[in-house]
Each structure stands twice: as structure tokens, then as C-alpha cells.
Amino acid sequence: MIKSIKIGALAIAGAIALAACGGGSSNSALVVGTDLPLQGASADASTATNNAIALYLEKQGGKAGKYTVTIKQYDDSTAAKGAWDDAQCAKNAQDHVANAAEVAVMGTYNSGCAKIEVPVLNQDPTGPMLMVSHANTNPGLTVSWDPGEPEKYYPGGTRNYARVVPNDIYQGTADAQYTFQEAKKTKCAVLNDNQTYGQGIAKSFADEFAKQGGTVVVNEAWDAKQTSYTALFQKIKAAGADCVFFGGIYDNNGGTLVKDAVAVLGDNASFFKMAPDGFSGYPDLQGMPQAEGLHLSFAGKSLDGMVKGGGAAGQFVADYKTKYGVDPASSYSIYGASAMQVILKAIAASDGTRKGVTAALLGGSSPVCLTDAESITGVGFCIDPKTGDVDKKSVTIQTMTGGKETDLKVWDVQ
């Protein structure tokens, strides 16, 4: 009995191994990898992103110019960590390069993971291989930020990384400008969650707020493992702050943070509180009574804006709902399709090799652009061929009303 099971398992293993490798060598059939954390806290957002990308590709008939394109999904998280994992990212980078038919990667979700993968893809002997992210907002990947950045991610000397969302410099700056100019607040407490994203966005908020003429009265980190932040907010209250900025992601105990802030400082109508897009797209937060009136910002266009704006974006969101039965988890999933759009455009303009695809987007003199009508998000943009950043630097300011993220204003960074 046991023996027959063993033989059966072997046979299945063999069959799978064979079945797993259709296509490949033909030059016109190309693969684009998606590299997302499919397990843990970001799993829902990642699944929605993969769905949106599949839907977009389906709408294009699986074609980019004369090339047939299919998708291969990679998971950069592990169950043990419940989040992206450094070793898994390193392994994925190797796998992207090893898969001969793969010409570009859509991802990653986390900037830290991109910082591992980009240098490896950059040194690909048949490349460099292109990566376009829909969600990495850490500035250092494309522009000068920490020492050695961004050059240290491109050891081959040429760029191979682009993104379709503005980096944190713009979002933090826009949030600070809005807080000072529109909300007329002058004394802000700036908190961060001690992680790459949180520190970056808090820094750019604090810098810009001071530049605008405001005062940063408290600037410190919140510890995600703490069970209560009452003391922290007492301190902020004592410092005479009239606004507070949560630079970080909701996963880092954001729920307790918001609740304690409301308990100590008062509700969001009486005391101005703002959080960046690390807090958007969380049903837990949306359903929380204390979140009512909380200001949020989103780098780029929000889901709400896309639906209300109608056009191609509104249609795409509607199609998504028809096909999968639910709304996309966050606008990042639509930005995933937007990144795919850029990749497909680069593939169509290339000779079908990795090097060609990268060169079609980066390093040249004329940028690849999508018009308002073309762009899946409803907002046209160009990718700067030198840095890989987008030229559209508008940030959507939102507020939580009735458990929904509602747009207040689209803020263009000054």
C-alpha cells in the first residue's frame, strides 16, 4: 500500500514537472513574472493585484505588439514570516533570471524586497532585466536618498527599474503642504513606525512642514509591539500640538494607535490627524468608529477617484467586479495593471529580448508615456528614462466618511 502511494506520488511529481514547462524557447512567446507577497497581511492586496493584471492582459488578448505574453506568479513571502522574506526575494531574483522566457518582472510590493532583487536582475548577463513596481515608494531606489543610493542597486551601471507610483518624497511633502495650507495647522507631531517606508515618509513630512513655516513639536517612532500609546499621546498633548501625522503602515499596530490618539487627543473632527497610504485599503480601519474623519493620502489616484472619474479606469474597476465578484482590495491592484501596461508597452517596442525590453523603457532619450485615455488609472503619465520615476506627482487627499475612503482633493506638489 505504502509503496504504491510512493510510486503514485513519484509519477505525479514527474507529470507535474513535465507539465510545468510548456513553451519557452520560441522567441515570440514571452513571460512576465509578478513578484508579490502572497501570504500574510498583504495577501489580499497581492491576490487582487494578480487578478487585475490577469484581467488587463486578457483584455489585450494576451498580446504586446507581435509578442504573446503570459504571466508567471512568484511569491516573495513565507508562511513562517507572514510577510516578504529576504531569502525568498533573493531566490525569486535568481528564478526570474533562470526562466529563459521571462523578459520583465512586475513587482515588488515591498521596497526592501526590491532592493534585493534589483541588483541581481541588473547583473543578468542577458539583461539587464526590467522590473516595474506598482507599489515601491522608497525614494532610494531611483533617486539620491541614503548614502550610496541609488547607484548601489545598479552595479551594472545601467538602470533597469521603474515605478508607476510617485515616491514618498512627494506624498510626505503633499501631506505637509495640505496640513499647513488647507487645514491651517502649525504645530504637528510626526510619528513613524521605525520601518523603511514609515521613516521615509515621516522625514519628508517633517522637512516640508518646517519649510512651510510650521513647527514639528514631537518627532519620534512608535513601537509596534506596545499595547498602549496613551503615554505617547499625553506627551504630544502636553507639547501643544494641533495635528498628528502617522508615518507608517497600519499593520504595525495602527489600530491601537488610532484608537489611543482619539481617546487622548479627541476625535478627528476636533483634532486633525493624518495618515499616508500605508493606512489605506484596510477594512479593519475603515470599520473602526475612531477612524471617522481621519485624513488619508494616496500617492496617485485613489480607487474612489477612479470609480467616480469613470472613463477607462471606472470601466476597468467595474469589469473587475464582474469577473471576480468583489471590488479590488486597494488601488494598488489597479496600479499593478498600470505597471503591466508599461511593461507591455516596452515589450511591444522591443526586439523581444530582456536587454531590448529594458532599453525600450530606460536609458533612452524619449520617455515612454501613456495618455489619459490610454492609462488604466485614468491619469496619463510618463516614465523618466533616466530615473524610472513617474512624472505625475499628484497626491490624493482623502477622508474617512461612513467607513469609506472618500476623496477630498487632488493635491499637486508645489
Binding site: 506520488a9 505525479i12 511529481a13 507535474i16 514537472a17 513535465l18 510545468a20 514547462c21 519557452g24 524557447s25 501570504q39 511569491d75 513565507t78 508562511a79 513562517a80 514570516k81 510577510a83 522574506d85 529576504d86 531569502a87 525568498q88 526575494c89 533573493a90 531566490k91 531574483a93 535568481q94 528564478d95 533570471v97 533562470a98 529563459a100 526592501g112 532592493k115 534585493i116 541588483p119 541581481v120 547583473q123 543578468d124 548577463p125 541614503d146 548614502p147 550610496g148 547607484e151 548601489k152 542597486y153 552595479p155 551601471g157 521605525n194 520601518q195 523603511t196 521613516q199
Partner: protein, 404 residues
């Protein structure tokens, strides 16, 4: 009975050691040869098969896990000191690589046979071999610093304190971005990229995985030899004596503190070297990796494989590391595509580990490949229960007497 085993054991172990060593070397060389010479020209199907079931990144990771599990085996298996915070040494080793092989300290420019990336000379760039040694020495020192106050405790208390250190050191790394204005660890952003290994004029870039695998296998091999030689030596026998009966060992003249500290230092060194190797494997150091679960997984490798037996630990480490990074996902894919379901197998990781551990404790407490001595101890049930009862009575009596 005891006499017999003692006399028979050395002859038996040395011949089986040779067999195991040949087996290990053969497997390593086979993996190297397949990846280096066969796979580049192999049909796509074969390539895909190897890449998904036995990818070189995971093979390299397995070698590093073997190295670290053997290090922990010195502490837990040989000296019998339960250590729940082994990940601290991995972290320290990893950061040594981050500090000495990257552009992290960009305020200094040091290059000692190192390999700074083109155009970015800033930072400290030392040679990989030197960093291995420094990483080992640095963690050994920390092993002694942590061990000196800790090892005065016994059993549960010792385990708790090691657990504490295992939590403290990674937290220091997470928060070490601004120590009085000095950026020691770069916080959760981690240190990356770590330089490519360069030895004797050859650079092992991100795609020289087969060669890098060989380097990691050599490190694991070195640790195997070290473990085997130490065990038979004076120090090793002292460790075993402490493991089996601390009081008796000290009565026989074994200096308890010094011997325990030595086991801590050797174990820590292996963790540090493993940390350096791992940093070069993935090309960076990230504070979030160093969590409690890693300590537990390495401990499980030692316990499942067979505490105290080098080859048992090797099997345990290989098996668990492979299941963790490849096996579970791949078997899950097979089962899912055969049954048409969509079960997330990797998320049952700890359930499977837990059940496996419980089953092992019920039916094979000594591990897959136990050390002969451990097996003897574990299978003394018939006597031991009686012995324990009488022990208790005696102890009670003594205490009673003392109190009076």
C-alpha cells in the same frame, strides 16, 4: 553492559563516520557537478525540475543551516545546555558581514583585498575569508559575554535567559539606526547590498551560485570535522560528562564554568560564520529575519535529527531546511493540482512541525539518527522510573534532614 558499549563504540563510530563523510562529499560534489556542467545545456524540462525542487539558492541555504545546526548541537547536544536564543549569533555574524563587506559605513573608505562594487569605493570592504574569521571571533566573544552571567543558571532558567538574549540582540539591530547620531545597523532598512565574494582573483557574482554553494558546503564540512574531532577530544568528553551529570563531572575535576563557556563560544562561532555566509548568499542583512522562530527551527533540526550526533543533526537540518524553503510549497502544488483544491500548504508549516515534534517525542525521542549514548539513556525506561522514584525519596529525605 556499559563497559561493552564503551569499548565497541569508537570502532563503530569511526567506520560509520568515514561512510557518512564520503556520502556527504559525494552528494555535495554531485550537486555541484550537475549544476555547473550538466544543467546549463540540459533540456528545459530537466532545468525546470531542478530549479523548482532543488534550486541552488535553497541548497546553499541548507548548507548554512547545517553549519548553524551543528553549532547549536555543540551547545545543546554535547554540553546539554538548552539555548533558545541562537538566532542572536546569526544576527551578530550577519551584521559583521554587513559592516565589513558593504558601503554601509560610507564615512570611511577601507579596502583590504575586498571587492567594492564598481564606482562605489566608500565603506569598509574586507576580504570574505577575513570577514568569516572576524565574524567567528566577534560572535565567540559575544558568546562568552552572554554566557558568563547566563551559565550560572540551570535548565529552565538558563533557557529563559538565552531566550531573552535572543530577543534583545535582534531588537538592538532594529533600533540601532541612531545611536547618539551614529548609524550602526540602518534599522529595519537593513544593510544591502553586501559585496560579492572575491577569492584569489575570482569574483563570485549573483549567478555563480554553484561555486558559492561549494564554498558554503566547505564551511559546513569544516564544522562537521570540527564537531567530530572536538567530541573525541578532552573538551568534548568533558561536555558529555556535564550533559549527563553535572555534579559527577565537577567531582571528577571538570571545570564547569570554563567548559560550558567553551561550548558557548564554539557554538556562537558557527552561528557567526553562518551569519556571514548567509549575508553573502542573499546579498544583504535584514533585522526582521532574526526572530524567535528561527531559533526554534534550528533547535528542531538538532532535536529531530538526533541530539549529539553530527550526522543526525546534518540529516535533520537538511530535511527541515528543505521542507521549509522548497518541499512544502512543491508538495502543496502537486496535491493542489491533483485534487483541484487551493490549499495554502506553507501556512500549515508550524502545524506540521508541531505534529512531527509530538510524534517524535512519543515514538522516537532520541531523533532520527541518535547518538549511541543518548539512545541508551532514552531507552532506560524500565529502570529509570524506579530510579526516579527512589531518587525523589532520597532527595526528600536529605532535604528534610538538612532543614532539621
Amino acid at each position: 553492559m556499559a563497559e561493552e558499549t564503551k569499548a565497541a563504540a569508537p570502532a563503530h563510530t569511526s567506520s560509520s563516520n568515514t561512510k557518512w563523510a564520503i556520502g556527504f562529499i559525494t552528494v555535495v560534489l554531485a550537486i555541484y557537478a550537475i549544476n555547473k556542467f550538466y544543467l546549463p545545456t540540459a533540456p528545459v524540462q530537466v532545468k525546470t525540475f531542478f530549479n523548482s525542487w532543488f534550486s541552488l539558492t535553497s541548497m546553499g541555504e541548507i548548507m548554512i543551516y547545517i553549519l548553524m545546526a551543528l553549532g547549536l548541537n555543540i551547545v545543546v547536544g554535547y554540553a546539554g545546555l538548552l539555548d533558545l536564543g541562537y538566532v542572536a549569533f546569526w544576527a551578530l555574524g550577519g551584521y559583521v558581514a554587513g559592516w565589513l563587506m558593504s558601503g554601509h559605513f560610507d564615512q570611511w573608505t577601507v579596502n583590504f583585498f575586498g571587492n567594492p562594487p564598481a564606482g562605489l569605493p566608500n565603506g569598509i570592504h574586507l576580504n570574505f575569508l577575513l570577514v568569516l574569521v572576524l565574524g567567528g571571533v566577534f560572535t565567540a566573544i559575544w558568546g562568552v559575554i552572554i554566557g558568563a552571567p547566563t551559565l550560572r543558571l540551570k535548565s529552565d532558567y538558563l533557557a529563559l535567559v538565552t531566550l531573552g538574549f535572543g530577543e534583545i540582540i535582534p531588537q538592538v539591530m532594529v533600533n540601532g539606526e541612531d545611536i547618539g547620531g551614529f548609524n550602526l545597523t540602518n534599522g529595519t532598512k537593513g544593510i544591502n547590498p553586501v559585496d560579492n565574494i572575491k577569492l584569489f582573483g575570482y569574483e563570485f557574482g549573483p549567478f555563480a551560485l554553484a561555486d558559492k554553494f561549494l564554498i558554503y558546503a566547505a564551511l559546513a564540512g569544516l564544522m562537521i570535522i570540527l564537531s567530530l574531532r572536538l567530541r573525541d577530544g578532552r573538551l568534548g568528553r568533558a561536555w558529555l560528562a556535564i550533559r549527563e551529570d553535572e555534579l559527577a563531572a565537577s567531582m571528577m575535576g571538570v571545570p564547569l564554568m570554563r567548559t560550558k563557556l567553551a561550548s558557548y563560544a564554539v557554538g556562537a562561532t558557527a552561528g557567526g560564520v553562518g551569519g556571514v555566509a548567509f549575508a553573502t548568499l542573499i546579498g544583504g542583512v535584514y533585522a526582521e529575519r532574526f526572530n524567535f522562530q528561527v531559533s526554534i527551527i534550528i533547535l528542531s533540526m538538532v532535536v529531530l535529527g538526533g541530539m549529539g550526533n553530527v550526522w543526525g543533526v546534518l540529516v535533520g537540518a537538511t530535511l527541515l531546511a528543505w521542507v521549509n524553503n522548497t518541499g512544502l510549497v512543491q508538495f502543496g502544488n502537486i496535491i493542489n493540482s491533483a485534487t483541484g483544491k487551493n490549499i495554502d500548504f506553507p501556512s500549515f508549516n508550524f502545524l506540521i512541525f508541531g505534529v512531527l515534534l509530538i510524534l517524535m517525542m512519543l515514538f522516537r525521542r532520541e531523533g532520527f539518527l541518535p547518538e549511541a549514548r543518548v539512545r541508551l539513556i532514552m531507552h532506560e525506561e524500565e529502570f529509570s522510573e524506579v530510579a526516579v522514584v527512589t531518587d525523589d525519596i532520597e532527595v526528600e529525605g536529605v532535604h528534610h534532614h538538612e532543614h532539621n
